[in-house]
Symmetry: C2
């Protein structure tokens, strides 16, 4: 019997997995963001509603995010750069995965920290060299984990988290993105 | 002679493009996020410093972001889900691109709004169907743009923005992501 409590309701997730096997339409979520240009390269994006379980859903609170570029890009730095938001998502997703897998395996976590670093050759977006891609050359995530588990068990947690991570998949594999003018 | 002013210092970007052609090392940026697990699937990520132009750089302010899952995932909804952060980044990047390209082409923008929707079959992350991917099935961006330009010119702005977008590239093409335990 495990007494580990990482605050993840694993039973609810296992129940959802079973329920959604028989109701695939309910598993189709649409996440949604609304963005408004402010000035220069500064924009503000809000997230509040999404669709899932066959119905419109609302987050507990509306969240607002500023995107801008720093002074070294001749901008006003009213928020992080758009590409940095990908690092935020990756860190959040892998960390949630580590907590969930640890809970499922009865491993008590004490501390989970990570540093995510994205290597970006900005000659791509500036159009200085057409052989340089616009996005990250690569991303490195380094976890520091303190848990009631062996190093091998901790490495297995991280590996399983990657395997089930939505953001890890979205960054390591291509996604079709359609852009339209209304 | 154009009088368009969208607040983008295009000359500085063109100068940077020229300068970085002759100094490729300065173009190598490293963006960085630090994340701490809070409880359950809730984590907090901060962004403040980055490396670029051959030196350590600091944003004007530290930014903090909460990642969590909503109540329908049996979580506390202390922030948006990690995968929603990808939509924030995409909206911010394409919008900054539209403003920059419009400035370069002498087109005055009055309003730029967008809605970004990501289709996500959560059977993937729940492990309910191994044929379903973990990430987005697809993402759709819809722009509403009011500008001193024809519809064709506006569509061309959006097309050029995609072509130079760091986040559009990062989502539509694969990136190598390495995850380690320190």
């Amino acid at each position: 019997m495990t007494t580990a409590d990482n605050g993840v309701n694993v039973q609810a997730l296992l129940d959802a997995r079973q329920a959604l096997k028989d109701a695939p339409d309910a598993a189709l979520f649409t996440w949604r963001a609304s963005s408004t240009w402010d000035h220069g390269v500064h924009s503000t994006t809000t997230i509040e509603k999404f669709h899932g379980l066959g119905a419109e859903q609302t987050h507990k609170a509306q969240s607002t995010f500023e995107s801008d570029h720093p002074a070294v890009f001749a901008a006003e730095d009213n928020g992080i750069t758009p590409i940095e938001y990908l690092l935020v998502g990756l860190a959040g997703c892998l960390t949630a995965g580590v907590a969930s897998v640890a809970q499922n395996r009865g491993i008590q976590l004490r501390k989970v920290e990570s540093v995510v670093e994205g290597s970006h050759d900005i000659r791509g977006i500036l159009g200085a060299d057409s052989d340089v891609r616009n996005g990250y050359e690569g991303i490195k995530v380094t976890f520091h984990i303190d848990a009631d588990a062996s190093r091998q068990e901790i490495e297995a947690l991280v590996a399983q988290s990657q395997k089930r991570s939505a953001v890890f998949d979205a960054l390591t594999n291509p996604t079709d993105v359609t852009v339209e003018v209304a």
